[in-house]
């Protein structure tokens, strides 16, 4: 059993370095803007499906990633508008948009899954071995986290945080809440789509079902991460999705090595979320 698990570790780490972006994409609106956004369930597969199609069109893999992120970001602003302008509950807005995206993704691909054949990917271009892939993904994570950290220390970033912490005081300070909410959901969902796009380039195919359950997975990762890193300082909050994604994937690997079926994962994930909540409650920290 132990050897099975150990054999799974490298694959698990690569996997989690991609999932970390969804965990970050969930964290940004949720923790920094106090906006519970469920759109990842739709923008993660959107990023994947779109990226696959773009690659098949012969678009450069890096450009394909950026275009997928752009699409995800736009969709994020759409969810935000549903909430801000039509006053739809933010959770419901996310569910509606994800549902719509399911059909859109299927339309885009024209069939439930699309395989890449000899299309070049960022991995085939820059990282042939698993070690290189892992390093590439680590660098990407570091880049995105550093960019986010730097942004949060600019004037715009300060306003962004203020909107999440206290919308009333923010408005009195002349801050346009709508603009920063749109920005946050665009950031978050661009990260979700980035994750989907990386996943597709790594595994060599896009599947319409690739987003199912991604949200709860990301949430579990985020909460495990927050329990481990803490959330009092900004860098801790930013690091939490990354740490959580890596640790959570290893827990999954362990569970799989113990002989549980992949279909049992959702139950394990749900139990993990509940357990983490219980630990946070017990420590007297905030709840979801």
């Amino acid at each position: 059993m132990l050897t099975t698990w150990i054999n799974l570790i490298p694959i698990g780490i690569m996997q989690s370095l991609m999932i970390a972006f969804v965990a970050l994409g969930v964290m940004i609106p949720f923790r920094l803007l106090n906006f519970a956004d469920l759109t990842s369930e739709g923008t993660f597969p959107l990023g994947g499906c779109l990226c696959a199609l773009l690659l098949l069109q012969g678009i450069h893999p890096i450009l394909a990633i950026f275009m997928s992120m752009l699409a995800g970001g736009l969709i994020g602003t759409f969810t935000a508008m549903l909430h801000l302008k039509l006053r739809i509950n933010s959770l419901l807005a996310g569910i509606i948009v994800s549902t719509i995206l399911y059909s859109v993704n299927l339309r885009l691909m024209g069939k439930p899954n699309v395989a890449l054949f000899n299309q070049s990917t960022i991995f085939s271009l820059f990282a042939s071995t698993d070690t290189h892939k892992t390093i590439l993904l680590l660098v990407l994570n570091a880049l995105v986290l550093c960019a986010m950290y730097a942004f949060l220390h600019t004037e715009k970033g300060l306003r962004f945080r203020a909107v999440g912490l206290n919308p009333q005081v923010s408005a009195q300070q002349g801050i346009n809440l709508t603009r920063y909410t749109l920005m946050g959901l665009a950031f978050g969902n661009a990260c979700n789509s980035l994750s989907g796009a990386l996943m597709v380039q790594m595994q060599g195919y896009a599947d319409i079902g690739m987003g199912v359950g991604i949200l709860i997975h990301a949430l579990a990762a985020l909460m495990i991460g927050e329990t481990l890193t803490g959330t009092t300082r900004l860098w801790q909050q930013l690091l939490a999705p990354f740490v959580g994604a890596v640790v959570y994937q290893q827990i999954q690997g362990l569970v799989m090595a113990m002989g549980l079926q992949p279909s049992d994962f959702k139950m394990v994930t749900g139990a993990m979320v509940l357990l983490t909540l219980a630990i946070q409650l017990w420590r007297g920290k905030r709840l979801v």
């Binding site: 300060l158 945080r161 203020a162 300070q173 002349g174 801050i175």
Partner: protein, 255 residues
């Protein structure tokens, strides 16, 4: 200059208007005290000016702009408020310096530059308060006392002289000593920067001592309005008499 014309507001479910056709004009630099019994509509008036509530009818002009329909955040660029509720003035989970940075950036576009470059400006403002707050720039506001937080809120409100400053019992949740101190700093700064101000207070000695104008609101109407030398000559006894006059009429069912 602030011009309010026939401002009315009736809350849903209320049979009586909370503000019934209020008109008031303040010249630039006027410091107007607002007094009146509980529930007379003072806070409602200030919240409408701030943009937090929408009035039913009326006109509000500030300078050469009609601001009646402007949303809160747009008015926030030139109208500041400090309120009784300390929680409303500052962001608890941000440091003093971060809060002040927000106020410093007010009314212009935020840049991609660091917000930490204005600390020296804050030092200067805070030290003039003589509350040792300049040593607390990196403290979270939630860790400050009520008086300290209110002092920060007041500094945020006046860092850039606003076109209109609204103070709603901003000293009343504080202990007598801090209350006194904040009131003195308030009056001094308003005069020094010549800020047009509306200040609600229940503390009649303050209402007498400060400001060049005083209005009394009763059941949504301005029932008493003095300024200049008349305001200077006002005594607490006279004000109390005014209060009693209106309360009595209330009891007798005339109001």
């Amino acid at each position: 200059m602030l011009q309010i014309k026939n401002l009315s507001k009736t809350f849903a479910g209320h049979s009586q208007p909370t503000l019934s056709s209020i008109s008031l004009t303040l010249q630039t630099g006027d410091f107007c005290m607002v007094i009146g019994s509980n529930g007379s509509g003072k806070s409602t008036l200030l919240k409408i000016l701030l943009g937090e509530y929408a009035a039913d009818t009326g006109k509000i002009r500030l300078g050469d702009q009609d601001i009646f329909k402007q949303p809160l955040y747009q008015r926030g660029k030139y109208i500041s408020g400090v309120f009784q509720d300390v929680v409303r003035g500052t962001i608890a989970d941000m440091t003093v310096s971060e809060n002040l940075s927000l106020a410093y950036m007010r009314g212009r576009k935020a840049t991609f530059g660091s917000y930490r470059q204005y600390q020296h400006v804050f030092m200067q403002h805070l030290s003039s308060l003589q509350m040792d707050l300049e040593k607390k720039l990196n403290t979270l506001c939630r860790e400050l006392s009520g008086g300290q937080r209110q002092a920060i809120a007041f500094t945020m409100a006046t860092l850039h002289s606003p076109q209109l400053l609204l103070l709603d019992e901003h000293c009343s949740a504080l202990d007598p000593k801090s209350s006194q101190h904040i009131m003195e700093s308030t009056a001094q700064l308003i005069q020094q920067k010549n800020i047009t101000t509306l200040m609600v207070t229940h503390h009649l000695p303050d209402a007498i001592k400060h400001g060049n104008r005083l209005i009394m609101i009763h059941k949504g109407n301005i029932v008493f309005d003095v300024s200049g030398t008349e305001k200077k000559a006002l005594t607490i006894t006279q004000l109390l008499q005014r209060f009693h006059h209106h309360e009595d009429s209330l009891l007798m069912g005339e109001g």
